[in-house]
Symmetry: C2
Subunit: 343 residues, 2 copies
DNA sequence: CGCATTTATGTAAACCTTTTCATTAGCGAT
DNA sequence: ATCGCTAATGAAAAGGTTTACATAAATGCG
């Protein structure tokens, strides 16, 4: 084994060792057909000997890019995040890009920190999982040029950004239709946070399913906040009333799990007394008791599509703004059944 | 508002506008005390006017760094990952570093892909969540120089890398002591994957607690694999026997949840018939029924410590290899109770 | 006032590539 | 042998910083 050189070898070292110019080395690497068989061999040999790896910073500086994509999320701990990130990562890696991740925690200062990062050219593109455009001074400043962006999961109102996510409307409709098919007529929606776009879409799907099925539809919305605590609280508030729904369509699995837990702690059972359906199919949905019937979000597929779309758009930013709505599948487990016959 | 310039302003633009040299601009930014009050003002004004942001690639090339840390994980979907990542991210961001993430999925090719990335200077340091040194050709090649590294959560045998993680031995001992304090004498350990270092440490803690408490200790190990499926299977296998333990200390929460589910589906109850204690305190531990008694890993603290240690070591690599074992707390919920009086 | 010392600024090199442009050599055709 | 054309290579610029060194101005002191 050669002795360890003090520093990482540069293109100069390779060129010297191969007895050619650095231009030729570069060409041997990137345009092999432009260089003669014999010198190409000398160059590859020299590269092997020196252990040369092109310095990414120099390349990026010269080529005016960074080969990085920044993923900006509201929270890393979101149940959907790992799955999406896995998809993003898979294609970024396959296409030679690095993934830079940042979480804003809803904190404007942190967000500005990251946009500064972006502004200094540390990323060629931006994946938004925040549900909003990067709020920051620099957008309104002189250099208004944002990198190509794709919004994932959370559609952004009034912004011309491509969007990839599950079709919340149709998937919710599907969920509620399933409850209806089981015989339920009094179905409540336990919502997500107030003003949340996704919650609104899911609510619309819920309404549509009811309107389709019944002449006179009973829309029943209870406010939650997307956490299991919120689901629990929603049930508590509801159970003060004397008329109750027989099934709950929940904003997400966390909410559903909270709802189930609240129902159970009142001595009632799911799905015998009440049916509960969630949304997301988070990893734990199959591990709760009863296992949760829900809508599966194709998380990694969402991530893959989003990243592909973004990277396709990098070279010339010519790809038009477009939305991809992916199909959400109904996953039937054990938290739904027909309604109790007697109320 | 100024009109939008075609390109991002460079230091030259600022210098020209301020009527000084680029060296002065650079100094005004980094060594403000070395530049006179008046010119400093001119420079800052020019910067504001142009919307100048230093080009990160150029800076990094010049300064021979990248201001990035790579986080290499086995899987992004690991239950502990988001929490640790949150901690890592928090301090990286605060200290001006970007977080580059990659998941190897146990795939050697992917791992090599990332080490190539590293070798080209795209990261100044490396956080290992893989439990092993980056296996790759380049380690054995001529340029053997690895960047500073810190291993997190998974200790790495026979490698001189700093390590930050929970004190698996003591925490496990704590868990088992708790079961003993409830009156259990026949306690089984449902392990993680074969050969897993962490599982081995937890096993040792388990053994130590037993040995401390009883003259004659009954060590009882059942193989799992770290998934809820594994926990479930372990219980099934065990229940063929006629003597059974009264309590289970599980490798992790996933295993514990699987175990509980298997016990329940045999018509038995936790904690009345069997006590189950987990490890990790994953977000869902409080949402299962019965809510899971477990050991909490201080995930974000682990991430913060690891990143701080790594970044402290970047300037001169002078900090010695060291291990930080963090305390794991016992979180008492409802999955443990005293043993059944009659066997 | 003259010299030494500090302070402020500018010039240019260095960081490592990619790529344009120019040059040289080689070859076939006339 | 000469011309023209192609193929292979090299020289040098450009990308945007930081910083060592040089220079000029200003200040201190005897």
């Amino acid at each position: 084994m050669d002795k360890i050189p003090a520093k990482q070898a540069t293109i100069d070292d390779v060129a010297k060792l191969a007895g050619v110019s650095i231009a030729t080395v570069s060409r041997a690497l990137h345009l092999p057909e432009k260089v003669s068989e014999s010198t190409r061999k000398k160059v590859t040999a020299a590269i092997a000997r020196t252990g040369y790896r092109a310095n990414a910073m120099a390349q990026n500086l010269r080529m005016q890019r960074s080969k990085m994509v920044m993923v900006l999320a509201r929270s890393i701990s979101d149940s959907n995040f790992p799955g999406i990130l896995t998809g993003l990562e898979r294609v970024a890696n396959a296409r030679g890009y690095g993934l830079l991740i940042g979480s804003t925690e809803g904190n404007v200062e942190l967000e500005e920190n990251y946009t500064r990062f972006m502004a200094s050219g540390m990323a060629d593109g931006l994946i938004l999982l925040t549900g909003s455009m990067p709020t920051s001074s620099w957008r309104h400043g002189p250099a208004k040029r944002l990198p190509p962006m794709v919004s994932v999961s959370h559609p952004i109102d009034h912004a011309d950004v491509s969007y990839v996510g599950v079709d919340n409307f149709s998937a919710s409709k599907l969920a509620v239709e399933y409850l209806i098919s089981l015989g339920h007529r009094r179905i409540a929606y336990i919502s997500g946070p107030q003003g949340d776009t996704i919650s609104e879409l899911r609510h619309q799907g819920y309404c549509a399913a009811l309107a389709n099925a019944f002449d006179e539809s009973l829309v029943w919305k209870v406010n939650g906040n997307g956490t299991s605590e919120g689901g629990r609280a929603a049930i508590e508030r509801l159970f003060i009333k004397d008329t109750l729904p027989t099934a709950f369509f929940c904003y997400n699995d966390n909410t559903a799990i909270g709802a189930i837990s609240a129902i159970q702690s009142r001595g009632l059972t799911v799905p015998k007394d009440f049916s509960v359906i969630g949304f997301d199919d988070i990893p734990f949905a199959s591990n709760v008791t009863p296992s949760l019937t829900t809508i599966r979000q194709p998380r990694s597929q969402i991530g893959e599509m989003a990243m592909n779309h973004l990277l396709d758009n990098l070279p010339d930013r010519s790809i038009p703004i477009e939305s991809a709505l992916l199909h959400g599948d109904l996953i039937v487990r054990s938290s739904c059944a027909g309604p109790r016959t007697q109320f």
